[in-house]
Structure formats: C-alpha cells, structure tokens
Symmetry: C2
Subunit: 336 residues, 2 copies
C-alpha cells in the first residue's frame, strides 16, 4: 500500500493505530512502516522497558524528539495520517502526503486473537448484567446501579468499563445517551442499560431494556418493534452483503411498525480497540461486509417524557448468521 503511493514509509502516530500495529500500550509512541514491510518504533525514555517487553521484535528508538527522529529515519518520501495528525506535528515531519485511513481499514477485519478478546469482554459484560438483573433493582438510584454493574465487570476480570455506563429509568430511558442520576428506580419503569467491559484494550458494547413489574401495553409494543427491527438488521449482517442492507432492513421494520420517526440515533458501528470505529452502519455506506468484522446493531425507539427501548448486541460477521457475543436473552424481561 505504501509503495503503491510512490512513498517509502508511513508514519503512524495515532496511539490506537500504533497499538494495533505494534502492541504498544503507552501514552507516547509512533511507528514508521516502510514499503518493504520493516518498521521502526519511537518512544521516550519513560517507556524504554515497556517497549522492550511489548515489542520485543521491533527496532526501538528512544528519543524525546520523536517527530524529528522519524523524519530523519523516513529516508525518502513519507505518508502520514493527516486526519488525526496535528498541523504542528505534520510540519515537523516535513508536510508529508496523506495516507488516508489505511490503518483504520485494516482494523475493520479482526483476527482470531482480537475476536477472542472481544468474546471475553462480551462474556464478562453479559454475566455482570445477569448478576445485576437478579436484583434488587427497585429502590436504588441509577447511579448506584451503574456503579454496581461497573464494579462487577472489574471483579469478573475486566480491565475497566469500556465507556461510561448509560443507565436510565422511566422517562430518562427516552434520552438516548442519558447519564445516570440520583433518580430512584421504581415499579413500572422501563430500565435501559447500555454498557460494556474493556479487556486488553478491546471494548464490549451491549444494551438491554427491561421492565420493572408487568409491562404496560405501550412498553410491550415498542419493545417488540425494536426487537423485530434488530432481528431484521442482524439478518442482513453477513459477509458479502452491502453494508447499507442491514440499515435498510432495520429501518424498514421500524417503519412498518409505525415507529421510524422515534429512532433518532445511529444503527450500529464497528467496535474493537475503540468503542466507535469503522465501519458505521448507514444507508449511504458504499461497501460490502467482510468476514470477521465486529459490529454493533442497536435500533431504538425514544418517546420523550415517557420512555425508550434500545436493544444492542456486539456481533461478528460470518458467512452465515452473525455470531452474537453479547448473549444475555432478548425476550422482554418483566422483573418483579
């Protein structure tokens, strides 16, 4: 890819992309990848030992002048990630040509080791949620429940939460990205929980919505509509199928049920070393799905002032039905 562009080397300074290419997890590092496939890694003295452990097979340059050193080592013409590189850093590198999103494109398809970490992150998430849903739930605040869930994930082996938990009760469940408050969870509430575990840098992403007590008719209706839309979307997540198809299938399902206008968020996104990464599911996406892409599928219905439902899984694209990593059941749970 580098030689195709008539360049000698690609400078990668985005830390997520550096981690993907090298395994380095520190807070300052960059890698030069040469057209012949060789590479040199740059970091500062704080990370000398960590780099030796994490990247035993790569040549290291320990320097406080990372950009100057990379420019010097870059031999001839460089490419760089101008969508993330700062202007000042780019100038310091000698104003290289843009590489585009080369590394992000590689990251879309996961290898077995990555899928195994995502599987573990999702298994921990599912188990922690099932423990939380065993109760008690009513009488506790959104904040208390969110903290309980996050603590359980770490106790079960997560490195951390993958992102700040969205835990929203009653009317708050209508807010797509609600932050937990001191509102007390009570009988009759919809309870929407969007959360996930982080395992060795890989993110799980799962949402379940339950009802406390018997579901009212309107709650059951929107739950069923979201459930059906998610199933329709998942049905079109398959290797070789256009990315846009799943978006069309899920939104047509919501439209047929009369709820499309209440679906106000994105439908799904890639997930891996970042919680949101390429590809993003949308009607305009020009590509096709490939095996081992890991995606979320998360339709929802949000009724301001009343409540909302979202159902989300993290799944792996295969040649057949996707492998669902977030295994908590999706039948409507009515929790006494």
């Amino acid at each position: 890819m580098i030689a195709d562009r008539g360049a000698d080397a690609l400078y990668v300074g985005d830390l997520v992309n550096v981690r993907y290419l090298t395994g380095f997890t520190g807070s300052n590092g960059a890698v030069l990848v040469f057209a012949d496939g060789s590479a040199v890694f740059f970091t500062d003295g704080r990370y000398r030992e960590q780099a030796a452990q994490e990247l035993p097979d790569l040549e290291h340059v320990i320097t406080r002048r990372l950009l100057d050193e990379a420019r010097k080592r870059g031999r001839g013409s460089l490419l760089a990630e101008t969508h993330v590189l700062s202007v000042d850093a780019w100038r310091r590198l000698g104003e290289p040509e843009s590489s585009g999103r080369l590394v992000e494109e590689l990251r879309e398809t996961k290898d077995e080791a990555e899928i195994s970490l995502l599987r573990r992150a999702c298994a921990i998430s599912s188990l922690a949620l099932e423990q939380l849903l065993a109760g008690p739930l009513t009488g506790r605040t959104e904040r208390e429940l969110a903290l309980d869930l996050e603590t359980r994930m770490v106790e079960l082996g997560a490195q951390d939460k993958a992102f700040d938990t969205i835990l929203a009760a009653g009317e708050n469940s209508a807010i797509p990205h609600h932050r937990p408050t001191d509102r007390v969870v009570k009988h009759g509430d919809l309870l929407k929980i969007d959360f996930g575990a982080l395992v060795e840098g890989y993110h799980a992403d799962c949402t379940r919505t339950v009802v406390l007590g018997r579901a009212a008719d309107w709650q059951r209706e929107i739950y069923t509509a979201v459930r059906d839309a998610q199933a329709a979307g998942l049905e079109r997540l398959r290797a070789g199928v256009p990315v846009a198809d799943s978006y069309r299938a899920a939104t047509e399902s919501l439209d047929a049920a009369g709820w499309l206008s209440a679906f106000t968020t994105g439908l799904g996104h890639g997930v891996g070393l970042q919680i949101h990464e390429d590809p993003f599911l949308g009607a305009a996406h020009p590509g096709r799905l490939t095996r081992r892409t890991v995606l979320t599928m998360e339709p929802g219905i949000y009724l301001p002032g009343r409540g909302g439902v979202r159902i989300e899984d993290t799944v792996v694209v295969t040649d057949a039905a996707p492998e669902v990593l977030t295994t908590t059941p999706k039948d409507l749970m009515e929790i006494a």
Copy 2:
C-alpha cells in the same frame, strides 16, 4: 489577543478547550471567538438540547458540517489551534494561522468556581483513601484494593475516577506508573497509591505511600527523603516565584540526601480539566507562578526490585504557602 494578531476570530475545536470556554460537555463541538468578544457555538443535531441547557447564552449553529460552517462564519482571517487541530480539519478551515496555546494559557489560572470543584474532588479523594487505609489491606490483591478505592470515590459523589489508579505493593512500588495486578499485599510491603476523583470534569491527583507493619530502616530513609523534598518544593510554590525554583529546591533536597539519581519522573504539573496540563514543573521553565494556579508536587524515589515512595499533593498557589487540597496526613503511616 485575537485582534493583536491581526485576526478576526479564533477557532477552538479541542474539546477540553471548548468545555473551558463554553461549558459544553458533549463529544462534538467547536466555538468561534471573535475579536470583539462575541462567540458562536457549533455542534451537531445529537447535542441540540444539551447545548441549549449548557450554553443558554451563546448563539448555536446545529450542523453536520461544522468546519465548513465555522469557516463561513469566520468572516475574515482566522486563528486556529494548530498544535491539536488535524491537518485535514485545518485545510477544511482554509489553513488558518496558528493561535499558539492561548486557551491553555488561560486555563493555567483557575477561577473560584474551578477551585471549588477541585477542592471537592480532592476532599472526596482524601476521604476515600482514609477509608481504604482503615483496612483490611494485607491479604488483598492490588487490583481489589484499587477497585475498592475507585468505588468509594464514586459512592462519595465523584463522577468517576480521574485516571486509572496506580496501586503498587512491595517491589512493584518501584515502578513509577505500575498497573495493579493480582499480587497480594503483605506484611513488610511499601504500598504506593496514586489516584484521584473526577468532579464535573475536574481532576484530583494524590499519592500516598504507607508501610504495612513496622518500616525497615531503608523504607523510613527513603520516605523521609521524599517527604523533605516535597516540603522543600512546596515551600517555593508561591505567587511571583520562578516556576523553576520549586524544581531546584526539591531536587537539591533529594541530592543532599543522596537519592537524586533514584528520582526518575516529572516533579509536578498543572491539573484541572485535564489530569496533566500546563504548567509543567521543570528546571527550564522560564515563567513565574501566578495566584490560583493549581499544581501537583510529586517527588519520588524508585529502587528497582526493592520498592519506591512517592508523595503527591494537589495544591493551589497563593501569595503565601500553597493551599493543600489533598489533606490526607503525610507522616509515615505504619499500618498493622
């Protein structure tokens, strides 16, 4: 400052700087500040309501083409933060001149509302640590203790931890930025805990090192050396004093005790909306301290394979002795 540079407006797209200037806490937003002091805020449709709540007094532009819209509204000549702005975004804005670190410089001096949030974050941190140190400590793993401390902070009202807790026992305490492991804490260990609470975006940063059981002579010796160095550094943190003075005082103290070569990290940094922000304490800093700058002071001694000690406070610079916000005692604690 904008007019001084012959420009009409400053484009601020860095989210921390946007939050500082406007109060906006979402994940996509930018602000144009005009030379006459007026401003326009840009975000996308997801944040329409949040922006209305958080920025009631600012004109909002809701758009998916934030950069194009900002360029259009920028009237004449723009400045932009080329140290953080990506090359692609900068081109989209029409390649504006660099503003330098204008907003970061403003952020160095805190107002009373900011100091009050930092005071709260530090009070929560200190209380949580004192609860943790009440024990039991021995027989539990580093990971368990770190999670316990983080959970207590949220229970006491923190929005989150300010950063991943460094909790290191025995020989691990010699690693400046150790990540908690399954090592069990035992009698005779040094236990180093570097942690803090996050409150409304403001970060606390505190380190204490304790001994489990009676301190060995070498543990007491390095503790005393670090304690004295911290006191010497704090003594020179005062409005009007050169920033470099505190660095000189702390390192001279370590040198006099014969331990300077075992001090291998930075001495301190500004803290506020970011855990590490300007100014950074160092021998080469050309400036002087100003009132209401909030800083850490964190000398340490690290003896590979044996153990280490760090003592760190978050303090506010005043005309007299700094106000120490992290109030947990600093006498050597020997915990049975």
